[in-house]
Amino acid sequence: MKKTIFLGTLTAVGLVAGAAAAGTLDDVKARGTLNCGVVTGLAGFGAPDANGQWQGFDVSVCRAVAAAVFGDPTAVEFIPTTGKTRFTALASGEIDMLARNTTWTFSRDVDLKFEFIGINYYDGQGFMVPASLGVSSAKELNGATVCIQTGTTTELNLADFFEENNLEYEPVPIETNAEAQQQYLAGACDVYTTDASGLAATRATFENPDDHIILPEIVSKEPLGPLVRHGDPEWGDVVRWTLNALIAAEELGVTSANVAELAEGTENPEVNRLLGSEGNLGEMLGLEADWAKNAIMANGNYGEIFEKNIGENTPIGLARGLNAQWTEGGLIYSPPFR
């Protein structure tokens, strides 16, 4: 029966908590859209553009999952979350998955009962200082005022680093990158610290980027990845293997340009299994046979997504570094499709 949203809400408020809900995959399919939690605005990783279309590295993961489930990369509702609200949004079922620069840590995985389904970006916390300060290492920062963009595990890493090296510092916690950057440029803090990817992106927008240097120290491991709720392995598998499909596609040379052609059938059995022309991997996941093809068609493979959103030809200008394929000396590695 068709009920309007308005009426649906009105009646729903009167309801009582009932039996356990069905699996997330069934819920998502029944709803017809994927609810994906994203950041409220971080250049290159996720923000709506002038037309209101969400763009970015994390956003592409959401689109790929939507494409894998529905065959339609636009069947996704983006729900902006802040550092404070993201976990509750996921735990309460408001969003089906969270693709928002969130560090995989023990306590989030175990205590908060979330399941990190993989890593789509290996990051680490770095420092940026004005070149005029004459500092070449983070260990020379004794007594400095440090602007921190709060959100991931930045505050904790910073405290650890300065304690470990027996240095004094003055933390200035700031909520948004824009405000932190303004304080930093006005000289209200000597150092700006956040994930190295964010530092590069911020520096790129400065009036004189060359006046600022990013210090060599990376003080933390920040494996960023999408996460889902504990206790629903089927849905976890869908998101995990969609991400893996994007990674494997790059390794196997499947791109958005040639995926349609390769899906007809190739010499390489793994490509065939991935794209559904051989085997029944899609069925095992509870999806169509061409799920991975759709996911790759949405935004391209992992490498294409990287280049388009944060790669060296974008204003963000990040090198692949740790995020290169394992075959090229990086850490990006997908388990085999078999």
């Binding site: 908590a17 404070k84 976990f87 908060l112 400095a144 904790l156 910073l158 933390p171 909520e175 000289g187």
Partner: protein, 506 residues
């Protein structure tokens, strides 16, 4: 002779529950009670089911875990190894600091702007009108951000003070105004006493009561809190009883003895319950509540109070002499002397000296630092609330009949004195009630501190702690309890003050 007979007492019928006004009240209240119980149990059941489904529990144990983050403004000693509870406590004190500073400053701004808006100087009156309208009609969040930006942009960074030809210099060689904050000289003691560290004793292994396996209720804490609340309630009731029945014996007692009696009533149950559960070997919660007592400050305060007391005795003696002889002995230098000579002496004995801020490394060091985030928030809240207070002041002054001004003028008072002696005291009665709610608003608006990076309780408990632990329900609950306590205390104290200045009518 006619006799009025009472109507026969009716026997109770069921329909009277609806039709008879005597019983209808009970019916309505019964229905309301049922509805409330239903709603609460509905919400409670939803909560239980939701948490169960996700395998989560409500627990405040995270408060005891190490916080792991640093806080820049630390009114108490704090490091990142301290617990989340300690971090919240620091946040609470920071909130109270900015609220207190803000209320005082907002009152000053408000009174000035309110009075000047009625001034006959056209330019000043118009300027004040612009100030009031601009601040009243734009959201406080936008103002906080704008004032913060102005502060950062308009003041020089510490690096501007560096080098051979610095572009900025210190005020009187003592005060440095930078966009990280204002650094001022501060008193230090070379010969002072050590501070005494105080660790509040903690309860014995708390008795826990598990509520359907979801809530862990710490029975001991609740017992202690109930004892405290009950004691204070009893003291208030006792005060009311004594006032109502005019107990004469009590009125004869000196003021401090009366206060003592109330204090005993209020705190005895608390002390008894507390000592029952006392555990001398402090553990995590105890060290979270530690603080240190500055003996220097106590000594100085004692000397000051003693001096003021002696000064008052001299005044009383002078009053008495004046009443008896008609001539007032000149005592002002005595009165000043008994206050200041011992004070200067004690400062000398403690080895007091001024510690000047100086540029060391990246920042100024030494002296007292008032951080930029505090100044921005303090100033933004004060100037925003000041606009509202200005309107209250203006309304209060205009509420005083023009005849009062004219009467005062005909007595020959000068305009300034008319304002101070005749108008303002009367206007105060109109101004204070809305002033209370402005103070409350300011305190509540201080929760926007995170927009400028000031670590108040919303920034610590409701910010980084919540962010890192993911304990949203617990944090928000504690946050609400804190603000509620503050609001209710402010309105309680201000209402007491309001009652004391209220027009006494017989």
């Amino acid at each position: 002779m006619t006799t009025l007979t009472d109507p026969q007492p009716e026997s109770f019928r069921l329909s009277m529950l609806i039709n008879d006004t005597r019983y209808r009240a009970y019916t309505f209240q019964f229905i309301a009670l049922l509805a409330i119980i239903f709603c609460i149990s509905l919400l409670g059941r939803n909560l239980v089911t939701n948490l169960e489904q996700r395998g989560l529990t409500l627990s405040f144990d995270f408060l005891g875990n190490p916080a792991g983050y640093d806080i820049n403004q630390r009114p108490l000693e704090y490091s990142n190894n301290d617990s989340h509870l300690r971090a919240s406590l620091i946040g609470i004190i920071n909130t109270l600091i900015v609220a207190a500073l803000g209320c005082v400053t907002a009152t000053i701004f408000g009174v000035f702007a309110g009075v000047l808006r009625l001034s006959n100087n056209w330019l000043v009156a118009k300027l004040m009108a612009v100030y009031v309208e601009a601040f009243r009609n734009v959201p406080v969040l936008i103002w906080i951000l704008i004032i913060f930006f102005i502060m950062i942009a308009a003041t020089p960074p510490p690096s501007a003070f560096r080098g051979d030809d610095p572009s900025a210099s210190m005020l009187f060689d003592a005060i440095a105004i930078t966009n990280r904050g204002v650094y001022i000289p501060w008193v230090q003691f070379s010969n002072g006493f050590e501070s005494i560290p105080i660790i509040p004793p903690v309860f014995d292994d708390p008795t826990r009561f598990s509520f359907f396996g979801l809530f862990n209720i710490n029975v001991t804490v609740w017992l202690v809190l109930f004892a405290l609340g009950g004691g204070i309630y009893a003291a208030i009731q006792a005060g009311k009883y004594i006032k109502a029945n005019n107990v004469e014996v009590f009125a004869l007692l000196p003021a401090f003895v009366r206060l003592l009696v109330y204090a005993i009533i209020a705190f005895t149950p608390f002390v008894i319950v507390y000592s029952l559960f006392l555990n001398v070997n402090g553990s995590q919660p105890a060290t979270s509540l530690r603080f240190s007592l500055s003996l220097n400050l106590i000594v100085i305060l004692l000397v000051l109070l003693l001096g003021l007391y002696v000064s008052r005795l001299i005044r009383d003696w002078a009053d008495k002499t004046q009443e008896q002889t008609g001539e007032r002995p000149t005592v002002w230098y005595w009165r000043l002397g008994v206050v200041f000579v011992p004070l200067i002496l004690i400062f000398y004995l403690l080895g007091a000296y001024l510690d000047y801020p100086a540029l060391r490394g990246f920042n100024f060091a030494g002296g007292l630092t008032i951080r930029g985030s505090l100044i921005a928030l303090w100033f933004a809240l004060a100037i925003y609330t000041g606009a509202f207070i200005a309107e209250n002041v203006r309304a209060g002054i205009q509420a005083i009949s023009k005849g009062q001004t004219e009467a005062a003028a005909s007595l020959g008072l000068r305009p300034g004195r008319i304002m101070n002696l005749v108008i303002l005291p009367q206007a105060l009665r109109v101004i204070i009630p809305p002033l209370i709610s402005q103070y409350l608003n300011l305190t509540k608006n201080s929760s926007l501190a995170i927009a400028v990076g000031y670590m108040d309780v919303t920034g610590t408990l409701g910010g980084i702690t919540q962010n890192q632990t993911g304990r949203a329900i617990e944090s928000v609950l504690l946050l609400m309890i804190f603000y509620l306590t503050i609001s209710l205390s402010i309105s309680l104290f201000m209402n007491i003050y309001n009652n004391s200045v209220k027009l006494k009518e017989r």
